[in-house]
Chain length 503, copies 4
């Protein structure tokens, strides 16, 4: 399903770049930042922004912001403005509140006693309300309801003891991290340095890449990039280096990368990387915790085939996000994989008045049925998640009208039942199909022959350990060990939040 | 490969709708026309236009035109303007000349002695130059270089003998058809009637659908639609009815559809439906000559596997258009099908200055490599066509860098070598890779381990007859008969044009 | 009163330019055309268009069109496109029909047997309906309801007897002029020549200017311009040369200007230059028939003071168009001239919902009262025309509330009572205040102490002869002679049309 | 001269409105705010913003902001958003820095410990640098370089001693006023109250108006408005009430207006209302210190006639701002007043490449010469100020070419020689013509026959006292008394700043 329809949305993507030497040139830094944001576009389409710094003392910052996709927000002539920077950070934003305004567009730049800092943030502070009060009690006025503005003011406000004349941004960042446990992946730029920060629970992703020379000294390091997802590295000629660890502060400058500190979690707390990054948000070619997202989704499909086998003729996908799970299901079940839906790439907003019969036809403008591939057959249709239940229903109708004798829905993730307070935009509890009375007879409600979901345990296993039947035994033992170090937030499925929520 | 990059482009899509009774309402007619064009958007993204008629005497026509995609060109408030029509025709345009202006946007409406007609046209007149001269010699000034304006003026100008006071549009259309053999699929609206016309060679497609009641009397006919491709029928709740035959004039009104005439080809000339509609242009869920385009493409892939088998580990696709051929190749060859490329849905125009090293990275912003699926393996990569050779090259590089040991390119169509004069925008002969010296060592040129194309005979067989190994024997015999009635234009592959070209 | 509010509108302005030598350069020709249209902007604000020709054989034409003011319609980068032309014509359009579409934007370019011509037209053909029928009977389809398209098709269609191989555009233009007597001022560009044409009645204005060298050989001729109004000459460094005479065809090329022909009126018919060009439309610094428009308006004010003297304290104006008449009235009456209204230059469209009390305040957002200048005084307020009567009323209210003891309205033109069929957009007969019952007590209706209009005779005298009391005796005798050669259309005031109207 | 060309610019206009009862409705409050800003548009055209409050506890604020003129910035549908407010404040902004961004658009809204406040500001803080440092030292990050953001943070930050649980905004405002002496006219909205504040020197204007019932109980108070200039009152049906006094804090609520405090200036300091508000910025129908701006300008013209009499034939104006001075000069000198220039209302930005000869023609596209009114005559041309000297020069050339035998420039204000630090955007000292060597022979430089400026004493006399020769003797005595209470900032003319400047 598409993000827009399912109503689940990621908050943001962040991206940073530092040139190490002559290459990339200043113009290329601007282009790398742009391409990096394009590759993170799936994490936010509302607005985009870039701030570059020339790195001198005092630094000159150049800001470029706009509404919409990167390609809309930045015009070619605008990009030229950015060219006077050797380093920079960028941000793509997903609107969580419906208030879509340029003033919420990140990165935020504020002038402080120690010069200007620029901040780009992905996540949501669990204790934002208390922090806002604290900041305002100190006499600071806040212009937006954004957590990211709050973070910039906290960084400006908290002077650590030992700071006398020169600013100690690392101490300030650590201070911030003790004030708020999660969730944030953060880029803080000051003068000629970018600090890449991940909250102690590692709830949001953040990866580092190395810009590699493609000319004279092929393979030499020519700069560093940092990104919400590693999928952005290929498009700019960077190599995956490593993830920023939960709680870690990494300093990135033209001299290289340097781990400055790792702020620990409370004793006994496991990390809590958002499991829905695997299931849903991330681009399939991104790598988290050493594994490719596509592969995890394929394992989810295999696990689903084990948990919810089906007596049917063909397996298919709701393109495009469910395809790895569908291929996994096909592999595991032995059923042939075929395509049953063809997507119209050009569907935009078309304006159908609400009270017309055409509303009934709904999703059909988005998909066409590949009739010959399934007419007269029993179809297993894999979807990656069913959130509200209103988009899968017309697809089922379409397939049945085109001749499918049975349509079995298999969902490659468990039902979502609880709100997220850590950066994901989930419909209200009441809107979630899993909390409605209709969920009792979900198959009847959406018109399917049968409906089955992946179990929470199955999902965690697929994410954390691989599945026995895959013949990945050796891997499993090592993964089991890793699972002590790893751990995932499944709050939206289980209601178990990684930290206690204050109200 | 995407249309934009390959440089091959369809000229247009046409769509018409007539309401038979109360339903669809006038507002819904406007919406059906809009949705119909959205479903034909792949045939042209430059501009869109709709003209509706209220059907009365004299008729009132309402016109809506705009640049860009349907969703951009028509604003919600604009659509309300269209609501006073019981019938209408629409058009999406692909820019063939680079001159992108609103005045070229169809349908064209002209006032004639017998009232206004509206015309939507897909195709290109092979004898346009001679016809222009003829029209101008008669004293008509032509505002555009468009064949479609030429057609409207020819319809206005040619009064057949028998026409006295009332207009005889059918005679005028027949007259036009004797003046120009190909290529055109044409919708001519006058007052309360749409004439759907296909040239005698049937070079461009045109299908009729029936609007079906989804309420009181389920299944009853409530109107008629006509479209370049049947893929647009599902999205508006219409059922595929039949194709307009080569040379046929079909009258569509609220009283139903009526075949008025079939203008014959010169004795012995076979029909010449454009084979590239199957290979490339049409949406996979469209139906031509009784067969689904997806199925034909799959057969092309199977045929390719027979003609060009490969010693490799996995088969994959350049998403998304080559996927059916890749699945066919996998089926026939027995090699496993995997996905190796992940597409960034949000790539728009990003502005990379030409003289920077980032240019080198090229296509990578559009695709990500799904490394785990092919690292250390020999990959057969299926593409639907290679026109210029400049887009496949960076993909191969991407796969090799990500660990593919061999990358064998298999192209599910023969090399394009000749220009098209019948509505397809093909690069100049010099730009076509198949005409360049580099084609001698095409594999070396694009960096592939090996390159093989489907043969012309193989393509024709896949299109016309199915393949024995598919176990479609029964079908084949019937198809063989059909092949007497059918026939395809392969001019861009063979240089054999269906009619003699005048210069 | 502003055009927008009064509901009277001019159809268009036309402008042409031919470079004689090296200067103006091609880029400057484009700029001269743009500046020329800016100076004619008061004649039409709906759309603007320019076509330039490089003058070669065959010529290359470049077209630039856009909606809105010249400054909106043409972007800087667009203007560069025009730079490859040594000559060109332009057009600004006023929407007369409410249908505001780019396809009505002039100049029109059509391809004919003898090459492309471009046409720009100001006026309206009195026998348009009959001509349309004639053209369509010949088999020509017309795309718009525009008279200007009709003119282009008539030019394309009418091959004069003597024309064999080479086109005889002059014969074609003459032919056109015999088919339609009025009204048109026309620019026809073909290859390297512009034909400037005025209809036999001279209903619409057209003047020729000489581009003068401001460099090396100061004063030398460097090109020619032709314009609806001479006010456009100053802004481009041109000198007023002369008017195109009624019925005259002037050929303008790099070799200079040449009068080719003067098509006569029917015996006994006087010329019929639109008197409202003086009263209302033209810019005050334009020159018609040897006199400056401002001076004529001032004479109207003096004549008004003679016809309708007032016992009052001060004379003032509704800025800005009535100011010359007000100054004339003050001079003649001996009353002091003061300003009572101050205009807000920035009033744009602000959106006041119709059913609120703010509507009552109406015009006040446009004008402020300069209270000190008239509080406690009796004011004579001069307006140039009262068309609907709905805009002067709130002004009177404003002045009274600010302390004027009496407000006497004196209108420097007679009441408009009849429609115009020659290019002016006048409200329907029913909307004209002069045709309403309320006109009986117009003063009471609009809230004035008294209302008086200039007489038709007074207006004609002011336009044609000057006024004795001005001490212009010598001038008068010469003007009386001229009045045999001159004559004015007063149809909207008197119902006497210069030609018989066919229906 | 136009603002844009002269390079002098006002910073902003502020406007507020509180409804007292049922009328104005919430929708009308939004419209009154819009119309109020339209009437202040001459004070700033870069951006516009409005914030309304519903007045409840806690209040809901609605914000609307946009770039450009009010009519561009606010779309009709946007205004509907504002309709849920009984009170609100608005702002129009003039770009002083060249950085034109939406984030600088006022009013600023910040959330504080005691709820949200909205602030609109006109002026510039003389000690901004020191205050910024102070605020940042407290740990506040500043997002913009705007003084207005600084003010909002100072209001948020400074908790006065006596404030315990409930906020004491008045004490906070007083506190602010002790921190910074000038210049600011300020509107601070909190919940259901607007505080209207003028700095102790009264450098920027601020007036209060009373919304008057125009229906049932005609004349009853229905609300209150506050505005930079009283010219905005007429357009919304408000009556001028009084000015906010220097140093005064006026509370405006639905219960009426209440003077809360007057913060005094240092002993002996006179007030310092900007004299250029009279000369240049304000709309002529605005009232400051009991006198209409138009009348003051007329007095400047009379004084100029006394100081700089001319032997000439006619007096005229550079329309439109110099007209009152020109009429005053004509009255005093006895020379006849005529119009010599006609303005093209439609001149927008037209794009003339810098290196073409058309540049030479410059201002001519903006003005036409009314030749008949001055050809062969000696002209006195009144201008309101000459700042850079580059715009008057082409006007003089235009008049001379059109036949003026002499052109004497008389400037109705003294030469500007010094920078302003209190809110006016003046060109750099080097750019000011009065500081250039060319000023020695300014007449020669600009091509005039002679040039004379009004003296500083003459300007002050015209502003403060009226002139004896006007026969305003009685007034003068009262004005002389008033002059003890009044006083004006003439820093840009004399270099004498009202407060000592810190650096």
């Amino acid at each position: 399903m598409e993000f827009e329809e399912s109503g689940i949305g990621e908050e943001c993507g962040v991206f940073g770049c530092v040139a190490a030497g002559e290459w990339p040139t200043q113009l290329e830094v601007a282009q790398i930042l742009t391409l990096g944001l394009v590759a993170l576009q799936h994490r936010g389409q509302e607005s985009a922004g870039i701030v570059t710094s020339n790195g001198s003392t005092p630094p000159t910052y150049t800001t470029l912001k706009g509404m919409g996709l990167v390609s809309t927000a930045f015009k070619p002539e605008d990009l030229l403005k950015l060219k006077y920077g050797n380093l920079g950070i960028g941000h793509t934003r997903y609107s969580t509140t419906g208030i879509s305004e340029l003033q919420n567009c990140q990165p935020f730049v504020v002038d402080t006693l120690h010069g200007k800092i620029a901040v780009a943030h992905n996540g949501e502070l669990v204790n934002a309300a208390a922090l806002r009060k604290k900041v305002m009690r100190h006499g600071v006025g806040l212009s937006t309801s954004s957590d990211s503005e709050l973070i910039t003011q906290l960084l400006a406000l908290t002077p650590p003891m030992e700071e006398v004349d020169t600013p100690d941004w690392v101490a300030r960042i650590k201070n911030l991290m003790t004030e708020t446990p999660t969730s944030y992946s953060l880029l803080v730029m000051h003068k000629d340095v970018i600090y890449a920060v991940r909250d102690p629970y590692g709830n949001r992703p953040l990866s580092i890449g190395r810009l590699v020379c493609i000319w004279d000294k092929e393979g030499d390091t020519e700069g560093w990039v940092v990104s919400s997802e590693s999928c952005s590295f290929q498009s700019i000629g960077a190599r995956y280096h490593r993830e920023v660890q939960p709680g870690e502060i990494v300093q990135i400058s033209k001299h290289g990368i340097k781990s400055l500190s790792v702020v620990p979690r409370p004793e006994g707390d496991p990390p809590a990387f958002c499991i829905f990054e695997y299931v849903y948000f991330a681009r399939p070619d991104s790598i988290f915790e050493g594994q490719m997202v596509y592969t995890v989704r394929q394992r989810c499909g295999r696990q689903l085939a084990i948990e919810a086998p089906t007596d049917a003729d063909v397996v298919s996908t709701v393109p495009e996000s469910a395809t790895p799970a569908a291929l996994g299901y096909a592999q595991e079940s032995g059923l042939p994989y075929v395509e049953v839906l063809c997507k119209n790439r050009y569907v935009g907003r078309t304006f159908i008045q609400p009270n017309t019969r055409l509303r009934q036809l709904g999703v059909a403008k988005k998909f066409g049925a590949l009739t010959d591939n399934f007419a007269g057959k029993r179809v297993v249709l894999i979807d990656d998640s069913i959130v509200r239940g209103n988009t899968i229903s017309p697809i089922i109708k379409l397939l049945k009208e085109a001749g499918a004798t049975e349509v079995h829905i298999r969902v490659a993730s468990p039902p979502i039942r609880f709100p997220c307070y850590m950066g994901i935009n989930i419909p209200t509890k009441e809107e979630l199909i899993a909390n409605k009375p209709e969920f009792e007879d979900i198959a009847g409600y959406i018109g399917a022959t049968s409906v089955r979901y992946l179990s929470v345990e199955g999902l965690v296993a697929a994410v954390q350990g691989g599945i026995e039947s895959c013949g990945e035994k050796e891997q499993i033992s090592s993964r089991t060990k890793m699972s002590k170090r790893i751990g995932h937030c499944t709050a939206c499925l289980t209601g178990k939040y990684p930290v206690e929520l204050e109200w």
